[in-house]
């Protein structure tokens, strides 16, 4: 007997089942076909300006800085401003995201290079798939557009979030991914990022910048410039 068969047989023996019971199979099939949303906290259930303000509140609570601009054409200037305000070099790494590519980076003095990060980049920029109001989190998908290495290797991570992509909860992210053809299978990596990297392993004190980015800056594009 293979390990697989032995373990499955062991599970069934312990549970006192054969694996062929129709009600059990039906219960599992139903659960998978119609995922239950369960308890979704009210605190993320906001829309419009309130949603952005709530996102900003929870992002700020975990040391993510947030700026709001009125259109994609303002993202490069805001990026340059943030880098300069933090005394960082005017260099930037990004993937092949078409929304980022369409922005007027040439109008700034930023030195932009493309592709995944090999570990030498100080600053990286990504476009988020979604933002989660409940926790001030960003959802980033792997792929050529926004390589996963840019989320983790640069010291400073800038993430662009379209306010239309702000959803109340993680459950809404799943609903959107399931609705899109690329949801099966999921992208290799779905990152939910809530603040810059940190560790409490030295002296039982929290310090930022353990292995991932030391700083996380979010630029929200909100045509209503609500805040």
């Amino acid at each position: 007997m293979t390990a697989r068969d032995e373990i499955l047989a062991g599970v069934r023996r312990s549970l006192g089942v054969t694996g062929h019971e129709e009600p059990r199979r039906q219960a599992v099939a139903d659960r998978l076909a119609r995922p239950e949303r369960g308890v979704v906290p009210a605190r993320g259930q906001k829309t419009g300006a309130e949603a952005i303000a709530t996102f900003r509140k929870y992002a700020g609570a975990v040391q993510t800085s947030v700026t709001i601009v009125s259109g994609p054409e303002q993202v490069p200037a805001e990026t340059a401003r943030w880098l300069s305000a933090n005394n960082l070099p005017a260099r930037l790494r990004m993937g092949a995201d078409a929304r980022l590519a369409a922005m007027p980076w040439d109008a700034t003095t930023l030195d932009v290079s493309h592709g995944p990060s090999a570990g030498t980049d100080l600053n990286g920029v990504s476009h988020a798939f979604a933002g989660v109001t409940e926790t001030g989190s960003l959802i980033l998908l792997s792929g050529p557009d926004n390589p996963t290495t840019i989320n983790f290797l640069p010291d400073n991570h800038i993430v662009v979030l379209d306010s239309a992509d702000l959803v109340p909860a993680l459950e809404d992210v799943w609903a959107r991914l399931r609705a899109e053809t690329r949801s099966d299978p999921l992208p290799r990596t779905v990152n939910m990022v809530t603040g810059p990297s940190r560790s409490g392993d030295i002296d039982r004190t929290i310090f930022l910048g353990a292995h991932g980015p030391r700083a996380l800056h979010v630029i929200v594009i909100d045509p209503d410039m609500a805040v």
């Binding site: 995944p116 999921l186 290799r188 353990a210």
Partner: protein, 489 residues
């Protein structure tokens, strides 16, 4: 570093821990650290208690249908280009991992935090097989340098001071200038970041644990604050996931429920910094990510827990809340428990996994104050399960006569009244109720079940009486409501 099992020597281990002044100072910070943060996070979310019910129900449902969810999960992993390997025991799991590393011609193996890796003693095995395993979680890295084992499941180096870490870094990072300033703790963090970067970039294989496995999509989930798990699994040629069978949940939505209680119970965070969902290897056209994805599914005694009263223990999501709130853990630390899993969860799990002969002492390391159960996010009745083990141990006549009479552990605490106070103060309300004004404990908090037919005088009677008087006074003021609040005697 692989744990040699020292669980049978819990009492000796505990004695040593109590003499260790540095350890005692560190453990003293626990009450104001994790516990307070958890309480604040729980209080800030009105839905928290409902989420705990939801988390419990999800795990119960999954365990009741575990065979079917395993089949579904495996099919999804395979469909996304990954491989699932089943391992009956620790030796088989170690062999599978080493074989994968050998097939890839690997030299360096980076590792994210994984309790399963500790459970199966993976690092020693990889070293014996000629590979270089490098722990990348900062706490795990530090204890690997010291050839120690974790003392806490989410804060492995919890027992160490910054000065100790500085000594280790100076001893091991000899390529750095000896005159460098490491007096600030943050400089230690930066040095570890710099050293581990090189390992991340050089590694051939990355091994992580999994907080959850999702049957719906064949996805593994890791939760970290440092980002080390992500660098571990993204940069090398292959990503190996080590997980035990009970990590499964049915759907992505179910996982979202679990995540809400995990971070809050563990560290008091609303969400950990990095929650990462990994499905298969990198796709055609992807700019980065591992070329191969393997999941090693470990049984190691867990199927034997299904269908018994210990099935409930398989709901555990390894948040560490039970040990953070445990007066015994707070008194003796994690190493005294003598194997991978410390605290109340370890006291129940260890005898299940390594046998009652070796782990049977651990369920005695309880005051039965009930704090662990009251904070467990999946509502595992830990005190009840510890009692079950004690009954089993008794039935099998594995217990020395002194322990059977309750005297051994009682004596252990009775000789240390301060420890007794500490161990019972969180459960003071229970204690006051147990004594019922008789000045004696009919049911000792350490020994309920042992004390039937025998009353012990209360230790340090004056202190007890003072506490009792205060409790009684409070009861009178509160209109007969006994001991509703925690009390520091």
């Amino acid at each position: 570093m692989t744990a040699a099992i020292t669980s049978p020597a819990f009492r000796e281990n505990a004695h040593q821990a109590l003499e260790d002044k540095q350890l005692q100072a560190v453990l003293g910070t626990m009450r104001t650290g994790f516990s307070v943060k958890r309480a604040e996070a729980a209080a800030a979310l009105p839905e928290f208690e409902a989420l705990r019910d939801s988390a419990r129900d999800i795990k119960n449902h999954t365990l009741a249908h575990l065979d079917l969810y395993l089949e579904q999960y495996e099919a999804k992993v395979t469909a996304s280009g990954g491989h699932v390997h089943y391992a009956r025991d620790a030796a088989e799991a170690r062999r599978i991992v080493a074989d994968i590393c050998r097939d890839l011609g690997a030299k360096t193996v980076t590792k994210g935090k994984s309790m399963i890796s500790e459970e199966i003693g993976l690092n020693d095995h990889l070293e014996r097989e000629g590979f270089t395993p490098v722990e990348t979680d900062l706490g795990e890295y530090i204890i690997q340098l010291r050839h120690e084992t974790p003392s806490h499941i989410i804060a492995p180096a919890f027992h160490l001071s910054a000065a100790q870490v500085e000594q280790d870094f100076r001893r091991v990072h000899t390529q750095l200038p000896p005159e460098r300033d490491l007096s600030e703790p943050v400089s230690l963090l930066n040095e570890a970041r710099q050293m581990l970067r090189q390992h991340f970039l050089a590694a051939d294989v990355g091994i992580t644990g999994a907080n959850f496995l999702i049957a719906e999509t064949g996805t593994s989930v890791i939760v970290t604050n440092e980002g080390n798990g992500d660098l571990t699994q993204t940069l090398p040629k292959a990503h190996i996931v080590l997980a035990s069978l009970e990590k499964l949940v049915p759907t992505l939505d179910d996982c979202a429920q679990m995540l809400r209680v995990l971070a809050r119970s563990a560290t008091g965070q609303d969400s950990s910094v990095y929650t990462t969902f990994s499905t298969g290897p990198r796709r055609a056209g992807d700019a980065d990510g591992p070329g191969a994805y393997h999941v090693v599914l470990l049984d190691n005694g867990r199927t034997g827990m299904l269908g018994t009263s210990f099935q409930e223990m398989l709901r555990c999501i390894r948040c560490g809340a039970c040990m953070n709130h445990c007066p015994v853990y707070q008194a003796v630390g994690g190493h005294a428990y003598g194997w991978t899993y410390p605290g109340p969860m370890g006291s129940v799990l260890t005898p299940s996994l390594i046998g009652v002969e070796k782990g049977g002492h651990l369920p005695n390391a309880s005051t039965f104050c009930g704090r662990c159960e009251s904070v467990c996010p999946v509502r595992i009745p830990l005190p009840k399960l510890m009692r079950h083990w004690r009954e089993k141990e008794f039935e099998r006549h594995l217990t020395p006569a002194t322990t059977r009479s309750g005297l051994a552990l009682w004596g252990f605490f009775a000789r240390r009244p301060w420890l007794y106070r500490q161990a019972t103060r969180l459960g003071a309300a229970t204690l006051a109720l147990a004594a019922r004004g008789r000045g004696k404990f009919a049911a000792l908090p350490f020994a309920s079940g042992w004390t039937q037919g025998r009353d012990f005088p209360a230790p340090e009677g004056r202190t007890f009486q003072a506490m009792w008087a205060a409790e009684a006074g409070k009861r009178r003021r509160a209109g007969g409501k006994p001991g509703a609040k925690e009390q520091n005697p």
